[in-house]
Protein backbone atom coordinates (compact mmCIF):
# COMPACT_ATOMS: atom_id res chain seq x y z
CA UNK A 1 0.00 0.00 0.00
CA UNK A 2 1.32 3.43 -0.87
CA UNK A 3 2.24 5.47 2.15
CA UNK A 4 0.55 8.58 0.80
CA UNK A 5 -2.80 6.74 0.78
CA UNK A 6 -2.72 6.03 4.49
CA UNK A 7 -1.49 9.49 5.36
CA UNK A 8 1.45 7.85 7.06
CA UNK A 9 5.02 9.01 6.61
CA UNK A 10 7.69 6.76 7.98
CA UNK A 11 10.24 8.62 10.03
CA UNK A 12 13.34 6.46 10.44
CA UNK A 13 14.49 8.41 13.49
CA UNK A 14 11.34 7.49 15.40
CA UNK A 15 10.71 4.34 17.40
CA UNK A 16 7.37 2.81 16.40
CA UNK A 17 7.42 -0.08 18.90
CA UNK A 18 4.56 1.34 20.92
CA UNK A 19 2.21 1.87 18.00
CA UNK A 20 2.98 -1.52 16.53
CA UNK A 21 2.47 -3.21 19.88
CA UNK A 22 -0.84 -1.39 20.30
CA UNK A 23 -1.96 -2.61 16.88
CA UNK A 24 -0.95 -6.13 17.82
CA UNK A 25 -3.04 -5.85 21.04
CA UNK A 26 -6.03 -4.78 18.91
CA UNK A 27 -5.67 -7.80 16.64
CA UNK A 28 -5.37 -10.09 19.65
CA UNK A 29 -8.46 -8.57 21.22
CA UNK A 30 -10.41 -9.13 18.04
CA UNK A 31 -9.40 -12.81 17.99
CA UNK A 32 -10.37 -13.15 21.66
CA UNK A 33 -13.77 -11.60 21.01
CA UNK A 34 -14.53 -13.70 17.95
CA UNK A 35 -13.18 -17.16 18.74
CA UNK A 36 -13.89 -19.31 21.79
CA UNK A 37 -10.91 -20.97 23.47
CA UNK A 38 -12.32 -24.37 22.52
CA UNK A 39 -15.48 -24.73 20.42
CA UNK A 40 -18.30 -27.23 20.71
CA UNK A 41 -18.22 -30.28 18.45
CA UNK A 42 -18.48 -29.16 14.82
CA UNK A 43 -19.08 -30.88 11.51
CA UNK A 44 -16.55 -30.50 8.71
CA UNK A 45 -19.01 -28.28 6.86
CA UNK A 46 -17.49 -25.30 8.67
CA UNK A 47 -14.17 -26.02 6.98
CA UNK A 48 -15.86 -26.51 3.63
CA UNK A 49 -17.37 -23.05 3.92
CA UNK A 50 -14.06 -21.52 4.96
CA UNK A 51 -12.29 -22.89 1.88
CA UNK A 52 -15.22 -22.56 -0.51
CA UNK A 53 -13.19 -21.72 -3.63
CA UNK A 54 -10.15 -23.77 -2.83
CA UNK A 55 -10.06 -27.15 -4.59
CA UNK A 56 -6.88 -28.34 -2.87
CA UNK A 57 -8.43 -27.85 0.56
CA UNK A 58 -11.84 -29.18 -0.54
CA UNK A 59 -10.20 -32.48 -1.54
CA UNK A 60 -8.33 -32.69 1.73
CA UNK A 61 -11.43 -31.88 3.76
CA UNK A 62 -13.17 -34.74 1.94
CA UNK A 63 -10.29 -37.02 2.89
CA UNK A 64 -10.52 -35.99 6.56
CA UNK A 65 -14.28 -36.42 6.46
CA UNK A 66 -13.90 -39.99 5.28
CA UNK A 67 -11.72 -40.86 8.27
CA UNK A 68 -13.01 -38.66 11.10
CA UNK A 69 -16.49 -38.00 12.51
CA UNK A 70 -16.17 -34.41 13.66
CA UNK A 71 -13.87 -31.70 14.95
CA UNK A 72 -13.49 -28.98 17.52
CA UNK A 73 -11.86 -25.63 16.87
CA UNK A 74 -9.46 -23.84 19.16
CA UNK A 75 -8.72 -20.11 19.37
CA UNK A 76 -5.97 -18.98 17.00
CA UNK A 77 -3.96 -17.19 19.66
CA UNK A 78 -0.63 -18.98 19.22
CA UNK A 79 -1.46 -21.32 22.09
CA UNK A 80 -3.68 -23.54 19.96
CA UNK A 81 -1.44 -26.61 19.94
CA UNK A 82 -1.16 -26.66 23.72
CA UNK A 83 -4.83 -25.77 24.20
CA UNK A 84 -5.93 -28.49 21.78
CA UNK A 85 -3.57 -31.06 23.28
CA UNK A 86 -4.74 -30.42 26.84
CA UNK A 87 -8.41 -30.51 25.97
CA UNK A 88 -8.23 -33.60 23.77
CA UNK A 89 -6.11 -35.59 26.20
CA UNK A 90 -8.14 -34.74 29.31
CA UNK A 91 -11.33 -35.51 27.41
CA UNK A 92 -9.77 -38.83 26.43
CA UNK A 93 -9.00 -39.52 30.11
CA UNK A 94 -12.60 -38.69 31.07
CA UNK A 95 -13.78 -41.44 28.72
CA UNK A 96 -11.00 -43.93 29.42
CA UNK A 97 -9.11 -43.55 32.67
CA UNK A 98 -6.75 -46.52 32.23
CA UNK A 99 -3.79 -44.17 31.67
CA UNK A 100 -4.79 -41.79 34.47
CA UNK A 101 -2.57 -43.09 37.34
CA UNK A 102 0.54 -43.06 35.15
CA UNK A 103 -0.21 -39.62 33.77
CA UNK A 104 -0.94 -38.18 37.20
CA UNK A 105 2.36 -39.52 38.54
CA UNK A 106 4.31 -37.92 35.67
CA UNK A 107 2.42 -34.66 36.15
CA UNK A 108 3.06 -34.46 39.90
CA UNK A 109 6.75 -35.27 39.58
CA UNK A 110 7.29 -32.74 36.81
CA UNK A 111 7.51 -29.77 39.18
CA UNK A 112 10.52 -31.13 41.07
CA UNK A 113 12.20 -31.84 37.76
CA UNK A 114 11.70 -28.24 36.67
CA UNK A 115 13.08 -26.99 39.98
CA UNK A 116 16.11 -29.23 39.57
CA UNK A 117 16.62 -27.72 36.10
CA UNK A 118 16.88 -24.29 37.69
CA UNK A 119 13.37 -22.83 37.39
CA UNK A 120 12.78 -20.75 40.55
CA UNK A 121 10.08 -22.51 42.56
CA UNK A 122 7.98 -19.36 43.06
CA UNK A 123 7.72 -18.85 39.30
CA UNK A 124 6.30 -22.30 38.54
CA UNK A 125 4.29 -23.15 41.65
CA UNK A 126 1.00 -21.46 40.73
CA UNK A 127 1.00 -23.00 37.25
CA UNK A 128 1.70 -26.47 38.61
CA UNK A 129 -1.04 -26.08 41.24
CA UNK A 130 -3.63 -25.19 38.59
CA UNK A 131 -2.37 -27.99 36.33
CA UNK A 132 -2.82 -30.56 39.12
CA UNK A 133 -6.21 -29.17 40.17
CA UNK A 134 -7.56 -29.65 36.66
CA UNK A 135 -6.08 -33.15 36.41
CA UNK A 136 -7.50 -34.12 39.82
CA UNK A 137 -10.95 -32.96 38.80
CA UNK A 138 -10.74 -35.12 35.70
CA UNK A 139 -9.61 -38.00 37.94
CA UNK A 140 -12.65 -37.40 40.14
CA UNK A 141 -14.85 -37.99 37.11
CA UNK A 142 -16.45 -34.60 36.70
CA UNK A 143 -19.13 -34.46 34.02
CA UNK A 144 -18.24 -33.46 30.49
CA UNK A 145 -20.13 -30.16 30.99
CA UNK A 146 -18.13 -29.35 34.13
CA UNK A 147 -14.92 -30.20 32.34
CA UNK A 148 -15.78 -28.02 29.37
CA UNK A 149 -16.60 -25.11 31.64
CA UNK A 150 -13.39 -25.58 33.62
CA UNK A 151 -11.14 -25.82 30.59
CA UNK A 152 -12.70 -22.87 28.80
CA UNK A 153 -12.27 -20.58 31.81
CA UNK A 154 -9.62 -18.25 30.40
CA UNK A 155 -7.62 -17.97 33.62
CA UNK A 156 -7.49 -21.70 34.33
CA UNK A 157 -6.97 -22.61 30.70
CA UNK A 158 -4.08 -20.16 30.30
CA UNK A 159 -2.35 -21.43 33.44
CA UNK A 160 -2.76 -24.99 32.14
CA UNK A 161 -1.19 -23.93 28.83
CA UNK A 162 1.71 -22.19 30.59
CA UNK A 163 2.48 -25.36 32.49
CA UNK A 164 2.45 -27.48 29.32
CA UNK A 165 4.92 -24.99 27.87
CA UNK A 166 7.13 -25.38 30.93
CA UNK A 167 7.05 -29.16 30.56
CA UNK A 168 8.24 -28.76 26.97
CA UNK A 169 10.95 -26.33 28.03
CA UNK A 170 12.09 -28.68 30.80
CA UNK A 171 12.23 -31.65 28.46
CA UNK A 172 14.17 -29.75 25.77
CA UNK A 173 16.69 -28.56 28.35
CA UNK A 174 17.00 -32.00 29.93
CA UNK A 175 17.67 -33.56 26.52
CA UNK A 176 19.71 -30.62 25.31
CA UNK A 177 22.39 -32.76 23.63
CA UNK A 178 19.78 -34.20 21.31
CA UNK A 179 17.56 -31.16 20.71
CA UNK A 180 20.39 -28.69 20.12
CA UNK A 181 20.61 -30.15 16.62
CA UNK A 182 17.09 -28.94 15.83
CA UNK A 183 17.28 -25.41 17.17
CA UNK A 184 17.39 -22.79 14.44
CA UNK A 185 19.03 -19.39 14.36
CA UNK A 186 22.27 -20.21 16.14
CA UNK A 187 20.57 -20.14 19.52
CA UNK A 188 21.22 -22.36 22.51
CA UNK A 189 18.43 -24.68 23.68
CA UNK A 190 17.92 -22.42 26.70
CA UNK A 191 17.57 -19.32 24.51
CA UNK A 192 15.16 -21.19 22.25
CA UNK A 193 13.05 -22.14 25.28
CA UNK A 194 13.04 -18.57 26.57
CA UNK A 195 12.00 -17.18 23.19
CA UNK A 196 9.90 -19.86 21.50
CA UNK A 197 8.50 -22.13 24.19
CA UNK A 198 7.94 -20.39 27.53
CA UNK A 199 6.23 -17.17 26.36
CA UNK A 200 2.49 -17.36 25.78
CA UNK A 201 1.25 -17.05 22.19
CA UNK A 202 4.40 -18.47 20.60
CA UNK A 203 3.36 -21.03 18.02
CA UNK A 204 4.38 -24.65 18.24
CA UNK A 205 6.45 -26.63 15.82
CA UNK A 206 7.55 -30.26 15.46
CA UNK A 207 10.12 -29.79 18.18
CA UNK A 208 7.48 -28.70 20.74
CA UNK A 209 5.23 -31.65 19.89
CA UNK A 210 8.10 -34.13 20.03
CA UNK A 211 9.14 -32.85 23.44
CA UNK A 212 5.63 -32.70 24.93
CA UNK A 213 4.62 -36.18 23.82
CA UNK A 214 7.94 -37.62 25.06
CA UNK A 215 7.78 -35.82 28.40
CA UNK A 216 4.19 -36.85 29.16
CA UNK A 217 4.12 -40.24 27.44
CA UNK A 218 1.06 -39.24 25.43
CA UNK A 219 0.73 -40.15 21.75
CA UNK A 220 -0.68 -37.86 19.05
CA UNK A 221 -1.53 -38.15 15.39
CA UNK A 222 -1.40 -34.89 13.45
CA UNK A 223 -3.18 -34.64 10.10
CA UNK A 224 -1.54 -32.00 7.93
CA UNK A 225 -3.93 -30.04 5.74
CA UNK A 226 -1.74 -27.77 3.63
CA UNK A 227 -1.27 -26.56 0.08
CA UNK A 228 0.60 -29.67 -1.01
CA UNK A 229 -0.62 -31.27 -4.27
CA UNK A 230 -1.95 -34.53 -2.87
CA UNK A 231 -5.71 -35.17 -2.46
CA UNK A 232 -5.05 -36.52 0.98
CA UNK A 233 -3.68 -35.08 4.19
CA UNK A 234 -0.26 -36.27 5.30
CA UNK A 235 -0.20 -37.63 8.79
CA UNK A 236 2.48 -37.91 11.40
CA UNK A 237 2.41 -39.86 14.65
CA UNK A 238 4.29 -38.61 17.69
CA UNK A 239 6.27 -40.62 18.63
CA UNK A 240 6.75 -42.42 15.32
CA UNK A 241 4.96 -45.73 15.06
CA UNK A 242 2.83 -45.26 18.19
CA UNK A 243 -0.90 -45.84 18.51
CA UNK A 244 -2.38 -42.36 18.91
CA UNK A 245 -4.38 -41.35 22.00
CA UNK A 246 -5.55 -38.12 20.42
CA UNK A 247 -5.87 -36.62 16.95
CA UNK A 248 -5.14 -33.07 15.83
CA UNK A 249 -5.74 -31.27 12.57
CA UNK A 250 -3.01 -28.93 11.39
CA UNK A 251 -3.63 -26.12 8.97
CA UNK A 252 -0.77 -23.70 8.33
CA UNK A 253 -0.21 -21.94 11.65
CA UNK A 254 -3.07 -23.62 13.50
CA UNK A 255 -4.12 -26.78 15.35
CA UNK A 256 -7.68 -28.06 15.96
CA UNK A 257 -8.99 -31.31 17.45
CA UNK A 258 -10.23 -34.29 15.42
CA UNK A 259 -12.48 -37.19 16.50
CA UNK A 260 -12.28 -40.54 14.68
Amino acid sequence: MAEADSGFNYDPTKNYDDQICAQQRDIEKQITDEQSLVSNILSFDVLKTEYQDDQVFQNKIQDIKSRYKHMRKTRGDGNCFFRAFGFAYLEHLLKDDSDFPRFKEVASKSKDELVSLGFPQFTIEDFHDTFMEVIDKVGNKISYEEFFQLYTDQGISDYFVVYLRLIVSGHLQKEEDFFMNFVEGGRTVKEFCNQEVEPMHKESDHIHITALTAALGVTIRVEYMDRGDSDKCNQHDFPDGSKPDIFLLYRPGHYDILYP
Binding site: F127, Q154, D158, E191, E198, M200
Partner: protein, 165 residues
Protein backbone atom coordinates in the same frame (compact mmCIF):
# COMPACT_ATOMS: atom_id res chain seq x y z
CA UNK B 1 -7.03 -13.61 37.07
CA UNK B 2 -6.20 -10.68 39.35
CA UNK B 3 -6.26 -13.15 42.25
CA UNK B 4 -3.51 -15.26 40.70
CA UNK B 5 -1.51 -12.16 39.87
CA UNK B 6 -1.77 -10.90 43.44
CA UNK B 7 -0.66 -14.28 44.82
CA UNK B 8 2.36 -14.30 42.54
CA UNK B 9 3.29 -10.68 43.31
CA UNK B 10 3.15 -11.38 47.04
CA UNK B 11 5.41 -14.40 46.54
CA UNK B 12 7.86 -12.29 44.54
CA UNK B 13 7.87 -9.54 47.14
CA UNK B 14 8.63 -12.08 49.85
CA UNK B 15 11.40 -13.55 47.72
CA UNK B 16 12.94 -10.12 47.09
CA UNK B 17 12.79 -9.25 50.77
CA UNK B 18 14.40 -12.51 51.86
CA UNK B 19 17.13 -12.51 49.19
CA UNK B 20 17.56 -8.96 47.96
CA UNK B 21 19.86 -8.73 44.93
CA UNK B 22 22.77 -6.34 45.29
CA UNK B 23 22.02 -2.73 44.51
CA UNK B 24 18.26 -3.19 44.16
CA UNK B 25 15.36 -2.44 46.47
CA UNK B 26 11.81 -3.04 45.26
CA UNK B 27 8.33 -3.45 46.67
CA UNK B 28 4.73 -2.29 46.47
CA UNK B 29 4.21 1.43 46.83
CA UNK B 30 1.72 0.57 49.56
CA UNK B 31 0.38 -2.74 50.81
CA UNK B 32 -3.10 -1.85 49.59
CA UNK B 33 -2.05 -2.08 45.98
CA UNK B 34 0.37 -4.81 44.96
CA UNK B 35 0.09 -3.87 41.28
CA UNK B 36 2.18 -0.72 41.63
CA UNK B 37 5.77 -1.08 42.80
CA UNK B 38 8.59 1.31 43.44
CA UNK B 39 12.18 0.27 42.82
CA UNK B 40 15.47 1.91 43.70
CA UNK B 41 18.37 0.97 41.48
CA UNK B 42 21.95 1.83 42.28
CA UNK B 43 24.10 2.80 39.33
CA UNK B 44 26.44 -0.14 38.65
CA UNK B 45 30.03 0.22 39.84
CA UNK B 46 32.65 1.07 37.27
CA UNK B 47 30.09 2.73 34.95
CA UNK B 48 29.23 6.37 34.42
CA UNK B 49 26.08 5.81 36.50
CA UNK B 50 28.09 4.67 39.54
CA UNK B 51 26.95 6.22 42.80
CA UNK B 52 23.50 7.21 41.55
CA UNK B 53 20.27 5.96 43.08
CA UNK B 54 17.57 5.87 40.46
CA UNK B 55 13.91 5.50 41.43
CA UNK B 56 11.48 3.74 39.09
CA UNK B 57 7.85 2.58 39.01
CA UNK B 58 6.68 -0.85 37.95
CA UNK B 59 3.06 -1.25 36.91
CA UNK B 60 1.71 -4.79 36.72
CA UNK B 61 -1.18 -5.90 34.49
CA UNK B 62 -4.06 -7.90 35.98
CA UNK B 63 -2.90 -10.99 34.08
CA UNK B 64 0.67 -10.83 35.43
CA UNK B 65 2.83 -12.93 34.99
CA UNK B 66 1.27 -13.94 31.66
CA UNK B 67 1.99 -10.38 30.52
CA UNK B 68 4.99 -8.35 31.66
CA UNK B 69 4.85 -5.21 33.80
CA UNK B 70 5.77 -1.77 32.49
CA UNK B 71 8.67 0.07 34.00
CA UNK B 72 9.37 3.79 34.13
CA UNK B 73 12.12 5.75 35.79
CA UNK B 74 10.70 8.62 37.80
CA UNK B 75 13.95 10.56 37.72
CA UNK B 76 15.89 12.20 34.94
CA UNK B 77 18.06 9.66 33.15
CA UNK B 78 19.75 9.98 29.76
CA UNK B 79 20.18 6.53 28.28
CA UNK B 80 19.72 4.92 24.83
CA UNK B 81 17.23 2.34 26.14
CA UNK B 82 15.12 4.68 28.25
CA UNK B 83 12.55 6.94 26.59
CA UNK B 84 12.87 10.64 27.42
CA UNK B 85 9.76 10.24 29.64
CA UNK B 86 11.49 7.50 31.68
CA UNK B 87 9.90 4.36 30.19
CA UNK B 88 12.32 1.45 30.02
CA UNK B 89 12.70 -0.30 26.69
CA UNK B 90 14.45 -3.65 27.09
CA UNK B 91 13.77 -7.07 25.64
CA UNK B 92 12.77 -8.78 28.91
CA UNK B 93 9.80 -6.39 29.22
CA UNK B 94 8.47 -7.68 25.90
CA UNK B 95 7.16 -11.03 24.79
CA UNK B 96 8.82 -12.26 21.59
CA UNK B 97 7.24 -10.71 18.53
CA UNK B 98 6.52 -7.47 20.36
CA UNK B 99 9.56 -5.72 18.96
CA UNK B 100 9.33 -4.62 15.38
CA UNK B 101 12.57 -2.67 15.90
CA UNK B 102 14.27 -5.94 16.70
CA UNK B 103 16.17 -6.91 19.79
CA UNK B 104 19.15 -9.21 19.45
CA UNK B 105 18.08 -12.79 18.81
CA UNK B 106 19.82 -13.93 21.97
CA UNK B 107 18.05 -11.32 24.07
CA UNK B 108 16.11 -12.45 27.11
CA UNK B 109 12.32 -12.25 26.62
CA UNK B 110 9.32 -11.99 28.89
CA UNK B 111 7.65 -15.25 29.82
CA UNK B 112 5.67 -16.28 32.91
CA UNK B 113 8.81 -17.77 34.51
CA UNK B 114 10.63 -14.45 34.47
CA UNK B 115 10.29 -12.24 37.53
CA UNK B 116 10.65 -8.74 38.92
CA UNK B 117 14.11 -9.69 40.10
CA UNK B 118 15.15 -10.78 36.59
CA UNK B 119 13.80 -7.53 35.14
CA UNK B 120 15.67 -5.36 37.63
CA UNK B 121 18.90 -7.29 37.10
CA UNK B 122 18.49 -6.77 33.34
CA UNK B 123 17.97 -3.07 33.93
CA UNK B 124 21.20 -2.92 35.93
CA UNK B 125 23.05 -4.60 33.02
CA UNK B 126 21.37 -2.22 30.62
CA UNK B 127 22.67 0.77 32.62
CA UNK B 128 26.14 -0.74 32.47
CA UNK B 129 25.95 -1.66 28.79
CA UNK B 130 23.58 0.45 26.68
CA UNK B 131 22.29 -1.20 23.53
CA UNK B 132 22.23 1.42 20.79
CA UNK B 133 20.71 -1.01 18.28
CA UNK B 134 17.15 -0.61 19.55
CA UNK B 135 17.13 2.93 20.81
CA UNK B 136 14.28 4.45 22.78
CA UNK B 137 16.16 7.74 23.13
CA UNK B 138 17.72 8.39 19.74
CA UNK B 139 19.62 11.40 21.03
CA UNK B 140 21.15 9.39 23.87
CA UNK B 141 22.05 6.56 21.49
CA UNK B 142 23.77 8.98 19.17
CA UNK B 143 25.71 10.61 22.01
CA UNK B 144 26.67 7.20 23.40
CA UNK B 145 27.95 6.14 20.00
CA UNK B 146 29.68 9.33 18.91
CA UNK B 147 30.65 11.30 21.99
CA UNK B 148 31.38 9.13 25.01
CA UNK B 149 32.82 12.07 26.96
CA UNK B 150 29.63 14.06 26.64
CA UNK B 151 27.56 10.97 27.54
CA UNK B 152 29.70 10.57 30.65
CA UNK B 153 29.14 14.22 31.64
CA UNK B 154 25.37 13.98 31.27
CA UNK B 155 25.34 10.71 33.21
CA UNK B 156 27.37 12.20 36.05
CA UNK B 157 24.97 15.11 36.22
CA UNK B 158 21.99 12.75 36.54
CA UNK B 159 23.87 10.78 39.22
CA UNK B 160 24.34 13.97 41.29
CA UNK B 161 20.73 14.92 40.66
CA UNK B 162 19.49 11.49 41.73
CA UNK B 163 21.23 12.05 45.05
CA UNK B 164 19.65 15.48 45.40
CA UNK B 165 22.99 17.24 45.04
Amino acid sequence: MAGSALKRLMAEYKQLTLNPPEGIIAGPVNEENFFEWEALIMGPEGTCFEGGIFPARLTFPSDYPLSPPKMKFTCEIFHPNIYPDGRVCISILHAPGDDPMGYETSAERWSPVQSVEKILLSVVSMLAEPNDESAANVDAAKTWREDKTKFQEVAERTVRKSLGL
